[in-house]
C-alpha cells in the first residue's frame, strides 16, 4: 500500500536527519554547557511517529484514515497532558 | 520401501543422528532416505531482502557440499538417498513442514542437551514429540 511506503520512508529519512543533528548538537553542548538544545532535539525525535502518520494520511483508505486521526488525537491529548497540565 | 527422514545440521546432534542411521545400515537396515539439512536462523525482518537472499545462497552452497559427503557415505552402506533439502529457520518447525510434505515412516533426529539451553527453553525434540505424527527415532549423544 502506498500509505505504508510513505510512512516508512518518512520515518527513515526523518530519523537519520534528527540522529545527525542530535550528534552534532550533543558534541557542541559539551563545549557550550547548554543541555536545553539537546533536549529539544530529543523531543523532535519523539515527533517522528506523529509526523509520519500525518504524511500517510492523504493516501490511506477511509477506515484507516479514521484510525490514524484517532491515534493522532490521542497523541495530541497525551502531549498536552504531559507538558501543559 | 521404508521412507526415513534424516535430520542433519551443523551441530553435534546432526552428527549423532547420522552416526546412528549409518550404524543401523551397516547392520542391515535398508530403505529410502530423505536428507534434511537445517541451518537454524532467526533473521530479523529489518534485514534487507538482498542481504538475506545472498546469505541463503552462500549457506546453501556450503550445506550442499556437506550433504553430498553424507549422501555418499549412506549410499556406500546400502541406503538409497532419494532427495536432499536445505532449510533455514527453526529446527522443529522445518522438520514438521517437511513431514507434512513427504510423510516419512520414521524421522531420525539427534539429541544433545546443553545445561544453559536446558534452563531456558524447550528442546526441539520435545516439540516434535508433541506435534509430529510420524514415528520418531531420537538418538542420544
Amino acid at each position: 500500500m502506498r500509505d505504508d511506503r510513505v510512512f516508512a520512508e518518512t520515518v527513515r529519512i526523518s530519523f537519520y536527519l534528527i540522529l545527525g543533528l542530535m550528534t552534532v548538537v550533543f558534541i557542541f553542548s559539551k563545549f557550550m554547557g547548554d543541555k536545553v538544545v539537546v533536549t529539544n532535539v530529543l523531543l523532535m525525535l519523539t515527533f517522528i511517529p506523529a509526523l509520519s502518520l500525518i504524511t500517510a494520511l492523504p493516501l490511506a483508505q477511509r477506515r484507516i484514515k479514521f484510525l490514524i486521526l484517532a491515534v493522532l488525537a490521542e497523541m495530541v491529548l497525551a502531549y498536552y497532558l504531559a507538558f501543559h497540565s | 520401501m521404508a521412507k526415513f527422514l534424516l535430520v542433519l545440521d551443523d551441530t553435534e546432534r546432526g552428527k549423532i543422528a547420522f552416526q546412528k542411521i549409518y550404524e543401523l545400515a551397516k547392520q542391515g537396515l535398508r530403505g529410502e532416505v530423505f536428507l534434511l539439512y537445517i541451518r537454524e536462523m532467526e533473521i530479523p525482518p529489518f534485514v534487507s531482502e538482498e542481504k538475506e537472499m545472498s546469505a541463503y545462497h552462500r549457506l546453501m552452497t556450503q550445506s550442499i557440499e556437506k550433504l553430498e559427503k553424507y549422501k555418499k557415505e549412506l549410499e556406500n552402506v546400502g541406503l538409497v538417498v532419494s532427495d536432499v533439502k536445505v532449510a533455514f529457520g527453526s529446527y522443529a518447525d522445518r522438520i514438521l513442514m517437511l513431514e507434512r510434505e513427504i510423510k516419512p515412516d520414521l524421522i531420525v533426529v539427534g539429541l544433545k542437551k546443553r545445561v544453559v539451553s536446558r534452563l531456558f527453553g524447550k528442546d526441539p525434540c520435545e516439540i516434535l514429540l508433541k506435534k509430529s505424527r510420524a514415528n520418531l527415532l531420537i538418538c542420544r549423544g
Binding site: 510512512f7 491515534v71 | 536462523m41 532449510a87
Partner: protein, 287 residues
C-alpha cells in the same frame, strides 16, 4: 565524559546482541543498567523509553517495505495500548517520586517483572508459520492482513489477524507495563501476536516493532515532562544502540541464535536477581 563513553559502549554491545538473541534492546538496557550502575532508576527508564523508540525507528521502515507489517495491522491495537502506555508512564513516576522508598519499589518490581519475562520467554514456543483461524469482525473491518515474500521458503505468504478481541485486552496490559518501566514491549507483543493472533513469527516481530514505534513517543513525553530524560544518558545510548543493531543484524546472517539467546537470558536472570535484592535491601533500609 566517562559516563557517556560507558553508556555508549554498553548500548553498542546491547545493540549487537539484541537482534542475535531475539531479546529486545529495551528489555536489556533498563534492568542491566539498574542492576549494575549507580544511576537513578528514573533516568534509566527515561533513557530506556528513548532507546526503545530509536530502535523501532531504525528497524521498522525496512520491515514495512518488505511487507512484514503495515499500518492496518497495528492501528486498532495502538488505539488501546497508547492510552495504557501513557497511564503506565505516569504511574511509574508517581510511585518512585511520591513514596519515600518509591524508587526501591520500582527496582524490586523491575526485578520481578524481568523474572516473569524470562519465564515467558523460556516457556513459550515460537511458531514460524501458525495456522490462522477464520477472520473475526475487527480483523475484517480494518483489513488486518497482508502479504510478503518469505525468502526462507522461497514464496509469498499471506497473513491475517485472528482472535483480535482477546489480543486487544492483552495489549492494554502490555502498554501499561511498558510505559511504567520504560522497557519497550517486544517480549510480550511477540508472543501475543504469534500465539494469540496467529501471525507468522517474522510478521509478529515486525508488527511488534511498529507498535513500539507508535506508542513509545507517548510514554517518552511523560518522562521528558518530568525531567527524566537526560541527554548524557540518552544520546550516547541511542547512538550506541543504532550502530550496534546494524552490526547485530549483519551477524544474524552468520551466527546461530540458540547459544547467544541462552547466554543473554542467563545474564538477564542475574540482573533480575540483583534488582530484586537491591529493591528489598532499599525498602528494608539496608544499603
Amino acid at each position: 565524559m566517562e559516563m557517556e563513553a560507558f553508556i555508549f559502549l554498553f548500548s553498542l554491545v546491547i545493540g549487537i546482541i539484541a537482534p542475535l538473541s531475539g531479546v529486545g534492546g529495551g528489555v536489556m538496557f533498563v534492568p542491566l543498567l539498574t542492576a549494575f550502575s549507580g544511576i537513578n532508576v528514573d533516568y534509566i527508564r527515561g533513557g530506556g523509553v528513548m532507546v526503545a523508540l530509536a530502535s523501532s525507528l531504525t528497524s521498522s521502515p525496512t520491515a514495512i517495505k518488505r511487507g512484514f507489517t503495515n499500518l492496518r495491522m497495528v492501528l486498532p491495537l495502538i488505539l488501546i495500548s497508547n492510552l495504557t502506555a501513557f497511564g503506565g508512564g505516569y504511574l511509574g513516576l508517581y510511585i518512585s517520586r511520591e513514596f519515600p522508598e518509591g524508587k526501591h519499589y520500582i527496582t524490586l518490581m523491575l526485578g520481578l517483572l524481568l523474572a516473569f519475562i524470562l519465564f515467558i520467554m523460556s516457556t513459550t514456543e515460537r511458531v514460524e508459520f501458525p495456522e490462522p483461524k477464520g477472520r473475526d469482525k475487527i480483523c475484517s473491518f480494518f483489513q488486518m492482513e497482508g502479504e510478503c515474500f518469505e525468502p526462507s521458503i522461497g514464496k509469498d505468504i499471506r497473513y491475517s489477524a485472528s482472535n483480535t478481541t482477546i489480543a486487544l485486552a492483552m495489549f492494554a496490559f502490555v502498554g501499561l507495563v511498558a510505559g511504567m518501566f520504560g522497557l519497550g514491549a517486544g517480549w510480550a507483543n511477540v508472543p501475543v501476536l504469534n500465539l494469540v493472533m496467529l501471525l507468522p513469527i517474522r510478521v509478529a516481530v515486525a508488527t511488534s516493532m511498529l507498535i513500539i514505534l507508535l506508542n513509545t513517543s507517548i510514554a517518552a513525553w511523560v518522562y521528558m515532562a518530568k525531567g527524566a530524560v537526560l541527554p548524557e544518558i540518552t544520546v550516547p545510548a541511542i547512538l550506541g544502540m543504532t550502530i550496534g543493531s546494524k552490526i547485530g543484524a549483519e551477524l544474524t546472517l552468520r551466527v546461530s541464535p540458540r547459544i547467544i539467546r541462552s547466554a543473554v537470558m542467563f545474564i538477564l536472570l542475574i540482573a533480575a536477581a540483583t534488582n530484586i535484592i537491591k529493591g528489598v535491601m532499599g525498602i528494608a533500609g539496608i544499603t
